[in-house]
Symmetry: C2
Subunit: 220 residues, 2 copies
DNA sequence: TGCATTAGTGCAGTAAATGCAGGTTTTGAT
DNA sequence: ATCAAAACCTGCATTTACTGCACTAATGCA
């Protein structure tokens, strides 16, 4: 497959570079058109024309119109998955999440304009909101798997799943900016992000230990 | 609008009854076809033919193909919304959730077969999973609003949102049967459901009080 | 019974997405 | 430098979901 995001790769052939170029062009143009004229109102044909490619090309690059909108966040999300799955033995899942946030700040700040645009477009269409939620679900499962290991439980148990849901509910929106006000959706300061992560951790550990206590009480 | 689910309504005219009849027929037939031949493989035209209506009629009844799949759960979810929003002063949000579950058991048991079929169909298609998640999001917002009132906070604050996410993560799947195994997706016993709700409550209150403690400690 | 309402239908049209085949560019080995 | 293979882009045709519009027939009501 393609699997972009190689900043290491300097000279991986003209073909690859061109391909990447068309891809980013399509995304840029599409996001702009979506923001200007609305997601539903913008057709693939319009995007193709504005990006100077054929409509067929747009469809070959992106399996669905929605995928164009989320292309810029795929790489970042992929890195979180890697971080959680391949985390060192001395690091727990919430720690992996924390490290990921701190590392991604750079990328987020670079693409802040596009991310703001993306946020605006997503919030304006129910289909896109649904699509985003489906992606967050994958996160939740991922987090639940990690947390299950941390807690010595199964990924299907209640604790890891509730903890994962709580963490994801906070993480993905608050760490990228205020969900409720698309206009001032700027990346919070490093300190604010750490504070939010700490609060999430507090909540999760509080919930988990409360359940442990309840279990012990019942067993005695 | 339509707003089905009136078991009280005995004689609301022939026209209404016919309309409701066609609606349920379409849903029944469609769910069966989806389960047999797959969601994507089944076309609107096939559903229409099997339900003995015109394709145009199917589209007028349901704004999107996905809506056919979720039609049977709309009423139930609507009732939860009402319950949370119109709950008496002496009842908190988790209590409203609990009452809703206990009340809906009857409906769920009646429609168990269809619900099982629905579960199977949803789990087999990513688009449907996304659609479902989007609906759960509405729940989360609803729960967050209720919990915010309970806690004397704003619906946008971290606690109510994390608590709502945790509650919803557990509620909607575990209360209707094992998410992980579509085949044995039967409604759990009343006792099991209450146990699950208690655990969710334990987690949520544990998380909330942990955050309160942390705040107090920091303030001192 | 007669009349207003509305459910259901047929038709035409738009837009997304896919398969296929042909033409062009890039690549890599000789 | 040349040439063959691979990969990319494209146009074309097709399927499918969905919508607007006009029309018919059934229903509700006075």
């Amino acid at each position: 497959m393609q699997m972009a995001g190689e900043s290491i790769a300097q000279s991986i052939g003209l073909r690859e570079r061109k391909k990447e170029k068309t891809r980013t062009t399509i995304v840029e143009v599409a996001l702009r058109l979506f923001a200007e004229n609305g997601y539903q109102q913008t057709t693939i044909a319009q995007i193709a024309e504005a990006a100077d490619v054929s409509p067929r090309t747009v469809s070959t690059y992106f399996p669905a119109k929605e995928a164009i909108v989320f292309d810029i966040s795929f790489a970042s999300k992929e890195r979180l998955a890697d971080r959680i799955r391949a985390r060192p033995d001395d690091q727990d899942t919430m720690g992996a999440l924390r490290d990921w946030v701190l590392d991604e700040r750079k990328v987020w700040n670079q693409n802040e304009q596009q991310l703001t645009c993306q946020r605006q477009v997503i919030d304006g269409d129910n289909g896109l909101i649904a699509y985003e939620r489906a992606q967050l679900r994958e996160f939740e499962v991922l987090m639940a798997e990690g947390l299950a290991v941390d807690l010595g439980m199964e990924p299907g148990d209640l604790e890891p799943r509730m903890a994962a849901a709580a963490a994801v509910a906070v993480a993905v929106f608050d760490l990228l900016g205020d969900e409720r006000d698309s206009t001032k959706a700027e990346i919070p300061s490093r300190a604010d992000q750490l504070r939010i992560l700490d609060q999430a951790l507090t909540f999760v550990t509080g919930g988990v230990s409360a359940m442990r206590e309840a279990r012990n009480t019942a067993a005695s």
